[in-house]
């Protein structure tokens, strides 16, 4: 259940930004969560519900961009979509792949007021 500590980190980031901007509340939060990041969305939703209680995110609308997995083969240079980190290159079968997208876990933007 590391999702709860992730939610708490998100709350901390939002709090810092609110302070920096001298705003009082977060109206909307936009996040990138890659499909290959180790976030289980059901657990995340549950942790979110609990974790934002009585924080500046309590009433924030939540927008999540799920980014699909993408990799480049280190052997043949092929760029392809992946669902799992252990997938082989569909072109040459190599497992030496470099993941270029899908591991994201970041706060993209906040709408403050």
């Amino acid at each position: 259940m590391h999702e709860l500590s992730i939610v708490m980190s998100i709350v901390a980031i939002a709090q810092q930004e609110v302070q920096k901007a001298q705003a009082s509340i977060v109206d909307e939060i936009e996040m990138d969560i890659g499909c290959l990041s180790t976030i289980e969305m059901d657990a995340f939703e549950m942790a979110w519900k609990q974790g934002i209680k009585q924080t500046i995110l309590q009433h924030a609308a939540k927008k999540i961009n799920r980014l699909n997995g993408k990799a480049t083969c280190s052997d043949c240079g092929n760029i392809f979509a992946i669902q799992q980190v252990y997938e082989a290159c569909p072109n040459c079968g190599s497992h030496f792949i470099h993941i270029t997208q899908g591991k994201e876990l970041r706060v993209k933007s906040l709408l403050l007021s």
Partner: protein, 251 residues
Amino acid sequence: MCATCGCDANGTLTMHEPGHHHHHEHDHQHRQKIVEVEKDVLHENNLLAERNRGYFDAKNILAMNLVSSPGSGKTTLLEKTLTDLKGTIEMAVIEGDQQTTNDADRIHATGTKVVQINTGKGCHLDAHMVLHAVQGMKLKNDSVLFIENVGNLVCPAMFDLGEKERVVIISVTEGDDKPLKYPDMFHSSTLCIINKIDLLPYVPFDVEKVRANALQVNPQLKIIELSCTGGQGLTDWYQWLQSKVLQPETV
């Protein structure tokens, strides 16, 4: 910029919706502002991990993060290693468990410096906990620091502690498809130890299969098979360890 009416809280840009009366000294009740944050959620942890890493580098300490499911034999492997290599390498241990000091007591019995972190309900160690544990330890230069993470193959994968090597341990009483079921841990590790190989005759565990599965997830993973009770393979582990101990540079 305000998504409702387009005004900027800082006053650099103002736009108004049709019908919205325009006057210049206005003070909105609903000023909104978009902040492009673009910040990694684990940013704070990663900063602290780099700080730990810098401390370890400066003191020439080889920090290793030991991860596995509960019961794979992490503590037993440590007890054995600390006893066998005593006098050859300076070693210290950080133990991570939800509760009790049982593991720290076992390590302490080998005469090694040890700190226990109890995470309470937490399912993993993070860089912040390690930072504080290290502060009180007065680690020696040119030493090895073993960090035994909370027994959990999922959550600790996400948290960089500042270690140089991540060692994932799997025992033959587990399933040989574990690397595929928990790929993130195997993907982020540098060494995989297959433990309890003395039990192989009694369990349906296929070593070749687990090797293939682990290498499928991480082709660069080094794999060592050993048994802490039987002693097979321990020299391979000790040799690997000694090859990783950074020799201080002589001027």
